[in-house]
């Protein structure tokens, strides 16, 4: 409980720090979103008037203070491109990214942990070597390239997955924004299967490097635990090795892995920027790419704020889970 309170107290200062850094960096870049938005035909008077309308004519620190005041009132500002509130744009795209990220974390965890354990148990065998090649590949191959390879193989050559998009057509009626859940609620099995099929390639692309990381950490953790005295004791007591590994060793080994999963979550959210662009996935990553290219400051800040908050929350949850699974507690 102390841990939760302690971490929660740091939540706001961390986010404020993040916003100040992002705000400063995005505004220091010598770009002019107003001139860009107004277009090459715009007159200088027009640009100056628009700049004043959106408050870009004010000193940087005043702009920052105004922004922070707005955030405390739940106002993330308006996009100069869409004219809509940033919060509206973010909320409409958040479920797409979350659905993809959750699936990637789930897949990388469920596959990565068992394979990591098996690699440790059968260390230095052919199986371990093969997994090492896979994990190194997972960490080394660029997501962009992997995504295109997957598209060419599974969608174009084998034609067993969709090429891109989140669903054929426009999807089920939005309730949660998660198509898998919404289609189940609507009892629409076709939409569920269609959405699941569209998830396959983006999930695989996103999960591959994460799975490699989790696998390596699990392997290292298990190897470390296997060599400890309590395992030697359990072996001397005649415990079956299956019980020793999956019940006692894994619980100790997972502490480091769980921390890694929390970090991986953040990395995956960042990874969606590339994956969403290739698979035309209408989520936050694609939104962030557009916002950065257009120097849409409020959109950049909104994206940073929401992903930062999410990352902090996930890591808080990870800390809690660690406390639960740590045998010493």
């Amino acid at each position: 409980m102390v841990l939760i309170i302690n971490r929660s107290l740091w939540f706001v200062p961390t986010l404020v720090g993040l916003m100040i850094i992002t705000f400063t960096i995005s505004h220091i870049i010598p770009a002019d979103p107003v001139a860009f938005f107004a277009g090459e035909n715009a007159t200088n008077e027009q640009i100056e008037e628009l700049r004043a309308r959106y408050g870009f004519d004010k000193p940087l620190h005043i702009q920052l203070i105004n922004y922070l005041i707005g955030v405390t009132q739940g106002d993330l500002g308006v996009s100069i491109y869409t004219q809509r509130p940033i919060s509206e744009d973010l909320l409409s795209r958040l479920p797409a990214t979350m659905e993809l990220t959750f699936m990637a974390v789930l897949l990388s965890t469920v596959v990565g942990i068992p394979l990591g354990v098996i690699a440790a148990v059968y260390r230095n065998t052919m199986f371990d070597h093969v997994l090492r090649v896979i994990t190194v590949s997972g960490l080394a191959i660029a997501s962009f390239w992997l995504a295109i390879l997957f598209q060419l193989l599974f969608a174009m050559e084998l034609q067993i997955t969709p090429l891109q998009g989140r669903i054929d057509g426009w999807g089920p009626e939005v309730i949660t924004g998660f198509f898998l859940i919404d289609s189940i609620i609507a009892g629409d099995f076709d939409s569920f299967m269609n959405a699941a099929a569209h998830l396959v390639l983006p999930t695989l692309t996103l999960a591959f490097p994460a799975m490699a990381t989790i696998m390596r950490f699990t392997r290292a953790g298990v190897l470390d635990a296997i060599n400890s005295n309590y395992v030697l004791y359990e072996q001397a007591m005649g415990f079956p090795s299956r019980i020793i590994i999956w019940k006692y060793v894994l619980r100790n080994a997972l502490i480091g892995t769980v921390t890694q999963i929390g970090l991986v979550f953040g990395i995956l959210i960042a990874g969606t920027v590339v994956v969403e662009a290739v698979y035309d996935w209408p989520g936050l990553g694609l939104y962030a790419v557009e916002a950065i290219l257009n120097s849409d400051y409020n959109a950049i800040m909104g994206f940073t704020l929401i992903t930062g908050a999410f990352f902090i929350i996930i890591n808080l949850i990870v800390d809690i889970i660690q406390g639960v699974i740590d045998p010493r507690n």
């Binding site: 809509r84 068992p114 598209q151 054929d168 099929a197 290739v278 035309d280």
Partner: protein, 521 residues
């Protein structure tokens, strides 16, 4: 967690993966539905906020204007207007509206809607505002009756008519009912439409695109071949657009793909790649206002140091047309006999020897993400190194370059870029790029020659097109002789479509994205 539990979970996930992949539904489109993959996001549908070619589909398909640009070379065609009249002093433009035209909600299109539309453009100061800001005062446009609109210009203008298609007419009664805090209905219109165009909006998601169905009561009527539904989706990645087209996910995509992708599509039996010469010239701005670039000999040396043939034939595989002057080849006012410069290092050296001022290291600007600008910069750098001129390439995003272009001090010595078609009149190119009154705005060369400027100013108010053409031809030759910029090519449009798609009409202003003539076979 036991091994069995882990194994079962793993197996279950794999099963879901297997089922979902094998259960991929086959794509099926109704015969009359057309799906287009667009590179630009449809982040807003408001026709008065945006004025770029990338998002033109929402404007052309859901909105009408008094006039329309059609075909190539573009012809200005009465659209919602059945006729127009220009006063002898060139300051009063009177349009008579067709009777019986209706908005998508069934209400009639009246002159008050046109007045509201232009007032909205002038108030928002976005999109096409710059086309009208110097010619129209707010409140000056009148509707003497329900079917007559009068534009009272501040000063005579011969280009006003060419800009009228940019006034997309919105349903004023509907929009007024959606206004919040004097926003002219902006928030509502960003996600909805209030038009009368050939298609009416059925679904919109800023992250995905828009879908629209045929508006059966459109004033133009319909033949027996048409599309029932259109869908424009945002697909950022070129590779994804091309694969999607080949895969049958889409029926068309943008016509400015890299040549390797165009060839790849042309080789596909199910594809038809249309080819048209567009009106988008590629050139390098030279900062004429900065020393030593104010010396014509240095500018000529730069122009002779660029290898035009290698760029066009080798780098771009001959996919563009040489355009040696600051007016596109395919519009009136282009000096047909102008040959421009060739790659000639000896002549470059001759001119360089005449430059009296010291020549510093030259900064060649390029646009990040636009490979051609970087390739052109590298090619010019190569040419310059052969005549002993040092240079460096600075590649920056458009959002940075567009700021520097407006600042005399920050502007690059040279900058490679395109000039697109906003309205099909030579003034869109030379008239803005080299007019003295546009310096720092649309004239980013800081070029100001009194004689050229006189020709351009006369052409802006002269009603006789033949006389205007003569002025533009003469001015274009003078700017070229003066090496005001390095003029390289005019773009060709290679529109890739599924072979079932018929009736595509290309116009440089809309890039073939108006769908009312398209049908599927």
């Amino acid at each position: 967690m036991s091994f069995t539990t882990v194994f079962r979970t793993f197996a279950m996930l794999l099963a879901i993966f297997a089922i979902s992949t094998t259960g991929t539904p086959t794509k099926s489109f109704a015969k009359s539905k057309f799906v287009f993959a667009n590179s630009s996001p449809y982040d807003t549908l408001d026709p008065h906020v945006i004025y770029d070619v990338g998002r033109v589909a929402s404007r052309l398909n859901m909105y009408d204007g008094l006039m329309r640009w059609l075909d190539n070379p573009p012809k200005l065609t009465p659209w919602l207007a059945e006729s127009y009249d220009i006063s002898s002093d060139g300051k009063k433009y009177t349009f008579k509206l067709r009777k019986g035209s209706t908005f998508h909600d069934g209400s009639p299109i009246e002159a008050k809607d046109v007045v509201y539309s232009i007032e909205r453009i002038l108030a928002l100061k976005k999109g096409a505002f710059s086309l009208f800001s110097k010619s129209l005062e707010p409140g000056s446009t009148k509707a003497p009756d329900a079917h007559t609109v009068v534009f009272n210009l501040k000063k005579p203008s011969s280009i006003f008519l060419a800009t009228v298609p940019a006034i997309h007419v919105v349903n004023s009664d509907l929009l007024k009912s959606k206004e919040v805090n004097g926003d002219w209905g902006g928030v509502w219109l960003s996600k909805n439409e209030a038009g009368s165009g050939s298609f009416e909006l059925t679904r919109y998601d800023p992250a995905v695109g828009f879908q629209a169905k045929r508006y059966a009561n459109h004033f133009m009527g319909w033949g027996d071949k048409y599309l029932d539904e259109i869908e424009f989706r945002t697909v950022k990645e070129i590779n994804s657009r091309v694969l999607g087209l080949m895969n049958g996910d889409f029926h068309g995509t943008d016509g400015y793909l890299p040549q390797d992708q165009v060839k790849r599509l042309a080789a596909d039996d199910n594809m038809n790649v249309m080819e048209e010469e567009s009106m988008r010239i590629f050139y390098s701005i030279i900062h004429n206002g900065r020393k030593p670039f104010d010396d014509v000999n240095l500018r000529k040396a730069l122009s002779y140091a660029f290898d035009y043939d290698s760029f066009i034939n080798n780098i771009l595989s001959g996919s563009v047309a040489r355009n040696p002057a600051p007016v596109p080849n395919n519009i009136w006012g282009n000096p047909k006999d102008e040959k421009g410069y060739t790659f000639d290092l000896e002549k470059a050296k001759e001119h360089l020897a005449k430059v009296k001022q010291p020549i510093p290291e030259i900064t060649i600007g390029a646009l990040t993400g636009y490979g051609q600008t970087e390739q052109a910069a590298a090619l010019l750098q190569n040419g310059l190194s052969k005549i002993g001129v040092k240079s460096k390439i600075v590649s920056e995003p458009w959002s940075v370059a567009s700021k520097k272009m407006r600042d005399e001090q920050q502007m690059y010595d040279l900058l490679w870029l395109w000039r697109s078609t906003y309205y099909a009149d030579p003034n869109n190119w030379i008239g803005e790029m080299y007019a003295c009154d546009q310096i720092g705005a649309r004239n980013n060369s800081w070029y100001c020659d009194p004689e050229v400027d006189k020709l351009l100013m006369e052409a802006r108010v002269e009603p006789d097109q033949a006389k205007r053409a003569a002025n533009y031809k003469k001015a274009a030759k003078m700017v070229t002789d003066d090496a005001g910029g390095i003029f390289v090519y005019n773009t060709k449009w290679f529109g890739p479509y599924n072979k079932k798609v018929k009736g595509v009409r290309f116009s440089p202003i809309g890039n073939a994205q108006e769908m009312r003539w398209v049908h599927m076979e």
